[in-house]
Structures are given as C-alpha cells and as structure tokens.
C-alpha cells in the first residue's frame, strides 16, 4: 500500500477508484489490487477503518475490552491492504463523481486544501451508513448529540461525555454504544429504549432465521450485559430535551406517564441508514426500502448501480453490518475486475462463490433486526410542531406540514423553494428522511411516492479558492470554453 499525503502525487487515472476506507472499501481495494488493478482508495478520515473500525490504527484506547473484540478485527483488513500496491489517500474528500466523455468517470477530490480532478474507469462507492436523523424538541441544544458522534470521540480520542449521561433511541448499536461508554467510564443514568412494543409482532416471523444468525450470540451478550449493568427503561413513546443554554434534562413519556430525568449529556440514536449523498448526486437510481425504512440505491447481485461502472458496496447500499460490508466489497471488486477485462465471467463467479456463501450467512437474521428496531412513527415524523427538522435553516415540523398541506407541496425538492430545508450547509443530509416522512404523512402517501431530494455536488464543500485553482485536466484543456 502506498499512502499519499499530497494531491499532486496522485496519478491522472486509475483502473478503479474506491471511496471510503471502512470494511467495504478496504476489502474492495485489497481484492482489486490483488487482481493487479491500479487502485485509488480515498477517504476523508485521517486513518482507515470507517465508522466501525474508526481510528483502529491510532486509537488511544488500549484496554481491548472497552471497544469489544469485534472492533479489533478491523486490523486484519488493513494488514491485508498494506500488502498490496493500492494507493491510499487519507484526509482526501471526494466531492464529485461524474461520468466523463471517455466512458469512465471523473472524480473531484480535495486533499490538504487543494482540489483536483482524477479519472477512473470504474468506481466503487463504499461510503457507509449515517445515523438516522432523530429530531425531538430541544435536540439542537448543546449537550445533545448523536450516539455515533459520541462513539467517534471515544474511538479517536478516548473521551466520554462528562456528567450525567442519558442514551435514548432504538437499535442494536444503542446497546453496543451504551456498553462501550459505560466500560470507558461514562456515568450513564438512563438508557431510554424507544423500540415500539408491537414491533415484536412483526419481527417474530423472522425469528427462526435470527436464531441461526451470527448476530444472535453477539446480540444477546450485548443485551444482557447492557441490561444487567445499566438503568434501562423500555416502552418510551415521547422524548424532549430540556434546557435553555445547554441540556439540563430529558422529558420522557412511558406508558402514558411523563417524568423528567436530569442530565448533562443526551445521546440520541435511531439506527443507521445508508449514506446516499454521493450515489444520489452521481445520479444512481434509488428506491425506498419499506423494511429498513430508508432510501437505498438500486443495485444488482454484484452491487452494480443503475449507472454502468459505478458499484455501491457496504452499508451505503443497504444496512447489513461490518462483516457483510467487507464481503460485499469483495464481490463488487470482482465484478469491476470483470468489467475491466481482468477476469472472465466464469473466473469472477468462481472467485465470488465462497464470499457469497459467507455473505448469505452474515445477513441471516438481519430482517429480524430490521423489523424489531424499526423506529416508531413519532420519531420518524415528529408530532410536535415546534420540533426543528432542518437544523441548518431552522425549519420546524409544523412549517413543513403547513406548507405541504396549504400550498400543496408534494415533494422535498419543491419544499426547498418555500422553506429552504435541505439547502443549508448539510445539504439535506440530516433533514432529508424526516422531511420526506412529514410530507408523506400530510398527503397520506408512502415515502416512496413522495420521493427524495435530488442531491447536488459538491457533496462535501470545497472553497471557491480551491476550485479556482483547480489544475486543468487534459479534457478541460481540449474542451472549448463557451
């Protein structure tokens, strides 16, 4: 592996460019490089690992039990990549992926304050998941953050929130995180579980598969550990953060009764959804996944998107977890190698067979989790009018409902013209799913019919100065400026 710290050192063109150095990107890059392809692996973080193995090569957390054994598995993936000729560019943001005139792609990259355009014949997007937005009244107060953000700080700096900490929400990661934070010394005064009780009814049919899944043992262990040690409260139906300058408490409704729990930090988590910013902006088709309740890019068995030459591997194409992400990365790389003529179809299929078996195993039981941890309606489409949905432009749930009904706005792209939600610095990353749910609710249609934002590049901001200094590519020099 060759690590690149300066943008000028990148080649003009790669066989394959992979965006994101989490499990999917790491294994895709390793596999592609092992097959003799020239590979660029770009990631905005300073070190490889993605969210799950974040900071694995640099974390100050040395007690292995704090982050759990699974975390340390990431090391093997990185060691494998290190043995190849792949080019790895850390701290490198990819702000655009678009087809070029030569049938390949043009990537817009920034590294160390400088921008560049680089060509690649094939693309694998492995940009992973993001936390589902979880707007409740008061969620914009200082002291309230997402559980994922707390985990990033823990992994990269070994820090936990100070003072009384409440964790609230739903999903397996909630238990994992509560356990990790507690092990690292956080003072967790409550774990508020919003999993709707009736989800069990829907999930039970998928239970037999779950019994044979790799999640079972892990999940049970997490649950029992967390439940045994931590102050758990289930059946939470409503939450509001309280405080004026900073969070001082959280108002909780359970079983019809409401109480306030004093706290200094409130960590929110409502599961994860695919990060679709780059694939959406690149023009890849996407559809609403009614089970995972989120938009996912449309991919085939080889994780190829609707745009020939762009594949999407890992959680960015549908939540499946770290183990399946790594396997999906491999499969996507094999197909890219086939498209590049490096493997025949038969060779590709043969090489993919064992990985596919592993993938099926790793995904077994997923459906149970998806059904069980499906967020409650009230957290998908916040009922309180004053709840801020778009933080950047301070647009509330009430405004969105009103604009949808009074002005007949039927989709999130039209909503932008009236309320500017989705047009601030985050470009809809945080409000998109909620805006869609609210509009769908008002019109009594599904999110699928409501549609999603058309996201625009650059998917990560670059400065005007950086862009102005963009070195001309061969194409740009040849193109007639008009």
């Amino acid at each position: 592996m060759k690590t690149i710290a300066e943008i000028g050192l990148l080649a003009e063109q790669y066989d394959i460019a992979i965006v994101g150095a989490g499990p999917a990107g790491l294994s895709a890059a390793a596999r592609a490089a092992e097959l003799g392809l020239s590979v660029l692996l770009a990631d905005e973080n300073p070190a490889p690992g993605g969210q799950i193995y974040r900071a694995i090569t640099t974390t100050p957390v040395t007690d292995r039990s704090v982050l759990g054994e699974d975390y340390w598995k990431g090391g093997a993936l990185i060691a494998r990549l290190e043995r190849t000729d792949a080019v790895y560019a850390p701290g490198c943001t990819v702000w655009s992926v678009a087809p070029d005139e030569a049938g390949g792609f043009e990537l817009g990259l920034s590294l160390g304050g400088q921008a560049r355009l680089v060509a690649a014949r094939q693309i694998i997007l492995a940009t992973g998941a993001q936390e589902r937005p979880f707007p409740i009244p008061g969620w914009t107060l200082p002291g309230v953050m997402t559980a994922g953000a707390a985990q990033i700080v823990l992994k990269s700096s070994g820090l936990v929130p100070g003072g009384r900490t409440v964790i609230a929400g739903c999903g397996p990661l909630l238990y994992l995180l509560a356990g990790q934070l507690a092990a690292a010394g956080a003072n967790i005064v409550a774990v508020l579980d919003t999993t709707p009780r009736r989800n069990w009814l829907a999930a039970i049919a998928a239970f037999p598969d779950f019994l044979r899944s790799p999640y079972l043992a892990k999940g049970l262990k997490l649950m029992t550990q967390a439940r045994g040690k931590l102050p758990f409260r289930t059946g939470v139906t409503s939450l509001a953060a309280e405080g004026t300058d900073t969070v001082t408490g959280v108002k909780v409704t359970r079983g019809g009764a409401t109480e306030t729990i004093a706290c200094d930090a409130l960590l929110l988590h409502q599961g994860v959804i695919p990060g679709i910013n780059l694939s959406n902006a690149a023009g890849c088709a996407q559809a609403f996944d009614a089970v995972q309740r989120c938009w996912t890019p449309t991919v085939d068995d080889w994780f190829a998107s609707s745009i020939p030459g762009i594949a999407i591997a890992g959680d960015g194409a549908g939540i499946g977890g770290a183990e399946s992400a790594a396997l999906r990365g491999e499969i996507a790389a094999l197909d890219a190698a086939r498209r590049l003529g490096r493997l025949s179809e038969a060779e590709r299929d043969e090489k993919a067979a064992p990985t596919r078996a592993g993938l099926a195993r790793s995904l077994r039981g997923r459906r149970f989790l998806d059904l069980l941890y499906r967020p409650a309606e009230a957290f998908l489409a916040p009922p309180a009018d004053e709840t801020i949905v778009c933080r950047c432009e301070e647009v509330t749930a009430g405004q969105i409902r009103d604009t949808a009904s009074r002005l007949g706005v039927t989709g999130p792209n039209q909503m932008k013209a009236f309320l500017r939600c989705g047009m601030g610095p985050c470009q809809g990353r945080l409000c998109g799913p909620t805006v869609v749910e609210l509009i769908a609710q008002v019109h009594g249609v599904s999110p699928a019919e409501t549609g999603y934002y058309r996201l625009r590049p650059p998917v990560k901001p670059i400065t005007l100065g950086e862009l102005a200094a963009l070195p001309p590519t061969e194409f740009a020099v040849k193109a007639v400026v008009r």
């Binding site: 601030g424 610095p425 590049p457 005007l464 100065g465 102005a468 963009l470 193109a479």
Partner: protein, 374 residues
Amino acid sequence: MSGGSRSTDVIVIGGGIHGCSTALHCALRGLAVILIEKDHAGRHASGVNAGGVRQLARHVAEIPLSNTSMALWHRIGSLVDDDCGFTSDGQVLVAEDEEDLGNCRARVDDLTLRGFHHEELIDSAELRRLVPAVSDACPGGVVSRRDGAAIPLRATQAFKRKAAERGADIREGVRVTRVSRDGANWRVETDDGPFFAPRIVNAAGAWADRIAADLGEPVPLEVIAPMLMITAAMPAFIKPVVILRKRKLSFKQFPNGTVLIGGGYLGRAIRDENRTVLDWGKLATNAKTVWDLFPIMRGAPIARAWAGIEARMPDDLPVFGRSARHEGVYHQFGFSAHGFQLGPGAGAVMAEIIATGSSNVPIDGLEISRFTNH
C-alpha cells in the same frame, strides 16, 4: 385534477414558467385551459435557474416582451398571490476596462435612440457606490435599476397554483407523445390518453423541438445545460446582481448571505433522463473570475452546483408567436438561458394573441419562420 374534460379551448404543453404563465393569463381571459407537464411544474429550467429578473443587456428584439414582463414582476404579488421572493436591487454590468466601458456607452446610446431608457451608464464612483466590493480596476458600467431576482421554483409554482385557482386544469406527470390535426381540433396524444383543443401552445422548453417537428416545423434547437453554483452564507457585501460582458459571470448575494455564481458555462445535458453532468473544469474558470473580481469571496465554501436543461436557438433569441404553418398553433420556447424574466409578460402577450388575434407588444424577429422558411 384528473377525470376532467379532455376537450378544452387551449392546451398548453409544458409546465415551466412560460407554460404556467400562459395558462394563467388564458384563464384570466376566460378561456378553458388544460396544461400538460411530463414531470412537475418547474422541474426543469424554470425551477433551477438563477432567478435573475433582468432587463439589462437584452437583445433589442426581446426588449418589448421584457418591459411588459418587468411591469408584471413589480406587481407580482397581486398577480399570483405570492411575492415569488422577488427583490429589486438592480443589476449592474461591470466594465472591466476602458474598452469595455466604451462598448457600454455605445449600447446605452443605441437604446436611447430607440426610445428605451432602462439602462443607464455609470462611472466608477457610482459603480463603487452600488458594488463596493468590486475590484478597483473596473472603470464603470451600466445599471438597470428596476431589475432584481426572484426564487424560480416558487415563482413557477405560484403561477401554476393561481392558474389552477382560475380554473386551469393542470396535469402533472403526463407526457405529450404526439400532436396531430383532428378535424377542427388538435389531438394531443399523451401517455394518459388523448386531449383535444382548437388551440395549442408549445411551451415544452428543451423538448419543444419534438413538438415542432410533429407539426412539420423542425427547428434547430440545441439542448444546453447552463451551470450554477452557490456558496455558504457570507457577510452581506453586495446588493445588486452583477454581470460581465467579456467574461461569463452572473453574481448575486441573497438576503441570507449565500452567493449565487453563474454566467452561462455549460455542462452536459442528458435530456431523455432529466439529467445533467457538470463540467468542473469550466466551473473552475467561473470561480477564477469571481476570485479576480471579488477578493472577499476567495475562502467561501461552495455548497452546491447544478445545471438545468434549457433550449437554445442559434441566434440566442426565443421562438415566440404563431406557427408559420398552422392555424391554432402557438410557439413559446427557446429562451436561450434568459427566459425566466420574460415568463410573466410572455404569458400575458401570448394569451392576448390567442384570445384576440394580436397584441400591441411587438414581437418582430421572434417568429418561428426565421428557421423554417428557407
């Protein structure tokens, strides 16, 4: 809205600002209208443009339509019950050097001779007063003080809503596949069945050449994808919209601080997929112009960039008016990246022509026959 009559007085094809405006003005004149839009109103050029409401630097053939429009923009709220985000802080054409300024002077003199007074030559002091942040090297320019900007999608939808309120039947998500003669009527075939009317308006934007071809009036329409970018909020530093003559630039700061940068650099349009591909090399040139002219902008983060699908004619002028071949057919397309401002007025003039047979607003030089008569 579906389930209504399939026969009407006027069928408007295309729900951009032009189609919606014409539908509204027809309805205001008591005509029954069906508007057919394949996506949703404002989905294309009319919803994603720079929102520039500009009389400045228009071709003389367009000025009468533009003037009519400007009068409507200044009372837009009473016309469509929504202010469309219209603000009027003027537009300024900045001369980058003395030669440039000389051309500005000649232009303003020419307009004066023709009886138009909306463009005004300004010296460097007035330029500095209007645009304090502009680079010191610029010797002056031209201002059009009643110009401004509006919010494109919001404006287009306001026209649509008001048209619907006045009885127009708006059919979104319906594509016109063919138009043909059917006795006294035109038969407008769609993927939702046929519609009939004695009069049809072709306001299909970048797709209008296909309708024109069906009518035996093929036009050399070019599908273009002008690009725009917008920055994160900056401290307020400029009110009017700024444009240049020699280099491509259109530059505007919104009241919320974000800055819109455009000027006509083109990306690639894939019109059958409603998709565009940006050309970052050209956007870099666009950014370089801003870097030169407005040093304050150098560190501004670019929040997003996009392109819209627009129709351009070889002479950069719209096709506007009756068909050269058929009774009851009207064309309103090819606005060549400057048709947003024209929308309100063009709709009024088109409805007048449809309802009364003529209009006092001259539209000479915009006829389709300039391409179809050889």
